[in-house]
Subunit: 204 residues, 2 copies
């Protein structure tokens, strides 16, 4: 069985690299590539591949959004996320949006082939490191409510509690409560450490 493979990545070198690594594989057909989200969608209107290797960082839309759109319109297409970052939040988001796997860009040919094979069998595949991230860091997962995320974003913008209150049409004391809860969830004791941690964990 021949797997039709499509790639979305804005880096020419990566596209060429994957192409070079897989060109001698007989059961993989290279149906094309796109360097941004919109040309990817345009391609899919004409032909559906079996697997899309999709970079998370794209110039127009993020891979996380593109993945969602693709899976909604073409549920039969398997999406495998392709990324440099081994960040838990990204991995989680891609899975939520229907990705079948997560491949880091430092993956070997063997890993790539395994990933394609597994995906075609309907199973999930995650790069070793990505899998470890998901497995061994369950406790540092931070779940914020919608409101908390809003507040956090406004804090990062530099707004004070009274300003945030006005913006969200709630009392200053409420903002204060949210803020304290966020600090507790991140296990930090002030705003500086909070913003730093929030960025590192992909919230900002």
């Amino acid at each position: 069985m021949i797997t039709k493979l499509f790639i979305v990545d804005d880096h020419y070198m990566v596209i060429e690299g994957i192409h070079a690594l897989l060109q001698h594989e007989k059961n993989i057909e290279w149906v094309g590539h796109a360097m941004n989200a919109s040309s990817c969608m345009a391609f899919l209107q004409q032909q559906l591949p079996d697997i899309i290797l999709m970079d998370i960082n794209l110039p127009d839309t993020s891979g996380i959004e593109l993945c969602k759109t693709v899976k909604e319109k073409y549920p039969s297409v398997n999406v495998v996320a392709l990324s440099t970052f081994n960040q838990q939040s990204f991995i989680k988001k891609m899975i939520e949006n229907g990705a079948s796997g997560y491949l880091l860009k430092n993956a070997s040919t063997k890993e790539m082939l395994e990933c394609i094979e597994m995906t075609m069998k309907g199973k999930s595949y995650f790069s070793f490191e990505a899998a470890q991230t998901l497995r061994y860091q369950p406790d540092d997962e931070i779940i914020l409510t919608l409101r908390e995320k809003e507040v956090l974003a406004l804090i990062a913008e530099g707004l004070t509690n009274p300003e945030i209150g006005k913006r969200l049409f709630i009392s200053t004391t409420t903002v204060d409560s949210h803020r304290k809860n966020i600090l507790t969830k991140f296990n930090v004791k002030n705003t500086a450490a909070l913003i730093h941690a929030a960025v590192k964990k992909g919230f900002l």
Copy 2:
């Protein structure tokens, strides 16, 4: 004249991609690759290439550090930075550490060849976007003193002014002064916005 090319990048796909893109170039000799800083240094003890394409993000040392070390030990070797990020601070730092050029990973083959050619002629080459970043954003360049960088790092860790003072053996009021100067330089009005901006600009 044949250019001896060496690559340092922790992503197998990128190495293969560049290899694929340049393998038919007759005046470029592919002398090898390394996937981290230490094996790069080990290679250089045996053979010196003309140009090193060096990723900024490496697993052990950062490319910025590696560039410095390489140029100190082997000044004849030209280092071209290779990166996904079009961030001013990184570009600036690489130049300061002796890099001859800055190539973005979405560069075309033509750009790569141009870059190699220019570098061999002793000139600098910067990807179009990287050059624009340097040219059109001169005013948002933020220059911090050594002390200010130290203080900023400790603020990001979540230390308060008294704590920072103890750590650096200076008075709390001095820390306060530094802190105010940093806020002014970043043109922000509180810690939250400061940390956010500092991360975006590559200080943290």
